[in-house]
Amino acid sequence: MNNMWWKLLGSILVVYTVIAGFLVDVPEMAILNETIRNLFFHVTMWFGMMILLIINLVYSIKYLGSFKIPSDDVAVESARIAMVFGILGLITGMIWANYTWGTWWVNDVQLNGAAGTMLVYAAYFLLRGSIDDEQKRARISAVYSIFAFTMMIVFIIVLPRMTDSLHPGKGGNPGFSTYDLDSKLRMVFYPAVFGWTLLGVWMMTLNLRLRRINEKLNA
């Protein structure tokens, strides 16, 4: 029961996010209207994905330092959950775009960066699939994911700031903090980020345990 508390906290925060996210008073904005509530679901997905990808990066570096397979297990499972978050982020973003920009997809650096990131990690899993030897697979995929992560930083953080974008918070656009005059959005947004991330890490640890059980059974 010792390490139960954070799982409990994560679940409570997610439940709070869903309930408060739909009930809280939101600033009345033209065009955005009630869709501003998607902030608690769309933006938090990307936060969760970034945190999981940083876990992937850290464990990839750790693997290259120690050549111990458990580090690689953490790296691959975190990337897998990050993909789930990324896909959910894309879907929630597309729904939001449809209501505010009038189309499911626009040719925008931010959106393309997100899609590119998904491609990078799809390639990561493909690379893993094409190597049979466990140590070799861990080593080579760690090299690729470290390299891919640095390119992704350029992709979704540096490039969108250099060019025009429709996306809030990019290309000189104001982010949501400027709309949030009475901090009501923040009251839900920060717990939501924390809750979704904890949920993601929980999913990751479950997958990790399943993986270790499978390894024991197959050994």
Partner: protein
């Protein structure tokens, strides 16, 4: 002689000895350009002209760089392992591939302009775009070729691994060379050149850090 320059010299000698690979690449770009010419006839829209040129260069680059680590025999690998450090090897390959790609890209651009016409306002700037773009392409694709060579020598893996990570470079270089075609001033375009330079520097640093983990089996 410095190991890097002797490695480059050896790659160059091999390239001249096996003329078929260079000839193959030239025929590849020529037929791509010819197909574009037959399908488009004439491209008036500058962004289309520019994007199509870079797509041809991208595919030619993948084909050119794929060979740099693929199909290297066990003997050659051991030979490198004994004589040079991994950093020297990757730097030699990246510089050789950069020079190779710049040459290939210039030839492609000449053919492309011959068939599809051109209206490049600022030729020196466009050339700088080709050099920077090819440096970035070669550094990323060389590293990807090293990775793919460890993953079962599958040539299509280079494209699968390389394309997603090459998108930032490609987007920047396409914008840079479009500005060169339009004759936009250096003060505006310098930003893109700096991004490309930074991307190249970043890739080379990552290659230096990561390649030593790749090459030992």
């Amino acid at each position: 002689m410095n190991p890097i320059s002797s490695l480059i010299a050896r790659d160059l000698k091999l390239e001249f000895r096996r003329k078929s690979t260079l000839a193959g690449l030239l025929i590849y770009v020529m037929s791509s350009v010819f197909i574009c010419y037959l399908s488009f006839r004439q491209i008036i829209d500058i962004p289309t002209w520019n994007a199509l040129l870079w797509i041809i260069i991208l595919f030619a680059a993948v084909n050119a760089v794929v060979r740099s680590f693929l199909n290297e025999s066990r003997g050659i690998q051991l030979f490198h392992y004994l004589l040079v450090s991994p950093v020297q090897l990757i730097l030699a390959r990246i510089s050789f591939n950069t020079a190779y790609l710049v040459m290939l890209a210039i030839i492609t651009t000449l053919f492309y302009s011959l068939f599809l016409g051109h209206s490049i306002e600022d030729i020196p700037m466009f050339l700088l775009g080709i050099i920077l773009g090819c440096a970035c392409l070669s550094s990323v694709l060389t590293l990807m070729s090293a990775i793919a060579s460890k993953a079962g020598n599958n040539p299509s893996l280079v494209a699968i691994l390389g394309f997603p990570v090459i998108i930032p470079t490609l987007m920047t270089v396409i914008r840079f060379s479009k500005n060169a075609i339009d004759g936009i001033s250096w003060s505006v375009n310098l930003n893109y050149a700096l991004i490309l330079l930074a991307l190249f520097a970043m890739t080379v640093i990552m290659a230096i850090l990561l390649f030593p983990y790749l090459w030992k089996d």
